[in-house]
Amino acid sequence: MKKQGNIFICMSGLILAGALMPVILSQYHLYILTEIIIFSLFAVSYNLLLGYAGLLSFGHALFFGLSGFATALAIIHFPGLTLLSTVLIGLAASIIAGFVIGALLLRHKGSYFALLTLAFSALFYAVAVKWYSVTGGDNGLNIVRPDLNLGFASISVSGLAHFYYLTLIVVGATIIFCWYFTQTAMGKTVLLMRDNEKRMQFLGYNTNFARLILFTFTGALAGLAGSFYALHFEFVSHMAVSINMTTVVLLMTFVGGTKKFWGPILGVFVYIIFQNYLSDLTDRWALIMGFIFVFMVLFVPGGLSEVIVKIQQRLFGKRNDNGVKYIASEEGNL
């Protein structure tokens, strides 16, 4: 109960802080913060697969980019559409792709699953590169954000502050729902399947079905992030569906840590801020990021969130014999 109260205070604080950001931050930093929020959803969705379900996917960018393209194409080819309709079109595309690909991958786990996702990702990437007339090939697609139509009023989100607020509300609320999801029947089912899938089957769970639903759900979440990515940069190209983009989300998730819900969000913060900082300093930033990743995997496999939890335990003397609790245990989630 007390914990619930704490979460509430934390949330309220975050929402208040989020609302004040356009006043506090420069345009440049607000731009980066918007990017961070969008990638946070992408990374959280990735971790629902990796950390919660134990599924290593190399194809997650497929949904991100597909939805980004669908939103961009909707804007280009149907000029009258409102912003939320174009987002919904992106979402629909990623849900359909998630369901179809998920149905094909359903029975595979472990390295087969990883390789098959990689194959699908390569397929989508090839299409994005070659199908020049639709995807713009190497040039990508430039778009202009349409207005947000709320029925009673039409609001322009061409300005950064307005778009930031929209992102904060829609993407932020989705991230909060993802946290809630980990507490729901389906969220718990996913965790238990990782722990002991066989026993779940003998308790009446159709684990293949559950995996398909989860895969589709995380694809849809990545899709929502991808639509906002396209809207934020007012641009989308084959970069968004590339293996590179999957690597980025994988790095973010790993750097932050897969064992806590908020780990990947922390990872996104660190990754994007670091990347911006480093890319100002040197052209070799990608190389340095690579080294950091190798270092993290070798020496801090639990990610930054694990480091923080350990420090917390030292400081507040909260003894926990199992060390850092895994997400499977009841309290470890926040």
Partner: protein, 247 residues
């Protein structure tokens, strides 16, 4: 209802190795039915087939008048059949409470819900508490399964098996690794918690088997030697020769 559960001419071979060579027996509703037989006789394999874990090479299984051979475990569970494992097979990282909850919520249809939280459902919580108490684990209900003693783990294994409120219960050596005294206690518990339901149990302790079971099926070399009342089985010459004679 003699055809409540009917195993008919089940064969199973693993890439050429014949483990079951025509298994036949019937279980009546509300019966306590024991399956005995030496190690490696194929008892667990038979359970794996009956619970949907393995498909038989041939033969059928009639459950409530329907052929269920080859049906997946989750479908069988939903039709009221639940099994335990010879080697404890629970959620090691979860508390006793959450272990039981995983089955209870499945029984009440809360498997994939995106909005409802099972741990906030008072009806489910009451059911879980009651079952935890029944298997005698109330004192340790918030402890992770991995921290339990061996006996407690075995009790939890039974609790998880019962958590979907099955009408037909398959227990695979629930007392494996226990002393005779512990076994007697465990069987008392099993007798209590499965009353009013159908029980098929694999058990080694002969005293216990003869006091508990209404019917005993003896599995030997992949087939059922005899399936009858304890008195008849203990007087059967083939059984004496093949199995009891050794011990």
């Amino acid at each position: 209802m003699s055809d409540y559960f009917h195993v008919r001419d089940i064969h199973k071979d693993f890439s050429g190795m014949k483990v079951l060579t025509g298994v036949d027996f019937k279980v009546r509703k509300n019966e306590r039915h024991a399956v005995i037989g030496p190690n490696g006789a194929g008892k667990t394999t038979l359970f794996n087939i009956m619970s949907g874990d393995l498909k038989p090479s041939s033969g059928i299984i009639l459950y409530k008048g329907k052929d269920v051979s080859g049906k997946p475990p989750h479908i069988l569970n939903r039709s009221g059949l639940s099994r335990s494992f010879q080697i404890t097979n629970v959620f090691q990282q979860l508390s006793v409470f959450d272990n039981i909850l995983s089955g209870v919520r499945s029984r009440y249809g809360l498997r994939y819900h995106f909005f409802k939280r099972p741990d906030r459902d008072h009806h489910l919580i009451e059911k879980v508490e009651a079952l935890v108490a029944e298997v005698g684990l109330t004192d340790v209900k918030d402890q992770p399964a991995s921290s339990l003693s061996y006996g407690q783990q075995r009790a939890l294994e039974i609790g998880v098996t019962l958590s979907t409120e099955p009408e037909l219960i398959l227990l695979d050596e629930p007392t494996a690794g226990m002393t005779h005294e512990e076994t007697v206690q465990a069987i008392k518990l099993i007798d209590k918690v499965t009353s009013g339901r159908t029980l098929i149990i694999i058990e080694h302790d002969m005293d216990v088997v003869f006091s508990l079971a209404d019917t005993i099926s003896v599995l030997y070399h992949g087939t059922i030697l005899v399936s009858d009342s304890p008195e008849k089985v203990s007087n059967d010459n083939r059984v004496k020769d093949a199995y009891l004679g050794e011990g």
